[in-house]
Symmetry: C2
Subunit: 146 residues, 2 copies
């Protein structure tokens, strides 16, 4: 089901991979270049609205994005979250966090701990092409094996 | 492996269910009575540090806690998150969110939107015994089937 008033049913961010069941986007969040989302295609609200096979597929995609971020960027930590209070359509935030980022160790939604480090952000942005490609390959392989 | 300096290897919160691979706790976070955590027993940092079978087990536990919260409390939204920036030991936050809560629709880590509604919190607290029991039964069944 597509809900035309739901922004995640329609479009958002830079699409990195488009599958049948889900897509991966780079969210282009200011100060957090390595902020990706796995967005489930069907308009479901909660993770537990999915059946077992789809929950496995969904988390395999989240895991693949996490692995790509770890392999290319060696972040201090990965943050995963499915919140959806504002847009209640199942989507997972997959965020590479670094000790130097503006909010670490607080969540990205909390109060900033320090100003954005423009130089570090620029260095990170230079690696996003490789991250995107690694995600594309991993998710394509996942969908092909499915 | 147990890391004695890691607070999640040792103890935290009110234990609702203790399995071999994971435990579920009620976090007793002020203003958010229905804030649970699924804590992986082994000291791993990231979700992708788990093998496939353990990722399935872990998310089955998270899903079971989510289902218990939905069944007993009918929350506005469920929030799931594995952050671990402060305590890098794999744990999932499973939080029942309500339109009346102090932060909704912002994440619980963001700035409060309004004061805590003491009466609503008290009403919610009265249902936590049933939530705990529902979680215990679901996770026991999950571990028995495993």
């Amino acid at each position: 089901m597509t809900v035309l008033t739901c922004p995640l049913c329609v479009a958002s961010g830079t699409v990195v991979f488009q599958g049948e069941k889900f897509r991966a986007i780079r969210a282009d969040e200011p100060g957090f270049p390595a902020f990706y989302r796995v967005i489930w295609t069907a308009h479901v609200v909660e993770f537990s609205d999915l059946g077992l096979a789809d929950r496995h597929r969904c988390m395999a995609a989240v895991n693949a994005v996490e692995c790509a971020l770890r392999a290319v960027l060696q972040p201090t930590k990965i943050n995963l979250a499915a919140l959806g209070n504002v847009v209640p359509h199942l989507h997972w935030h997959v965020i590479a966090r670094f000790e130097w980022d503006s909010h670490f160790p607080a969540p990205v939604w909390a109060t900033a701990q320090r100003p954005v480090d423009g130089a570090a952000v620029t260095l990170l942005q230079a690696k996003l092409g490789e991250v995107d490609l690694t995600i594309q390959r991993a998710l394509a392989a996942l969908c092909q094996a499915d």
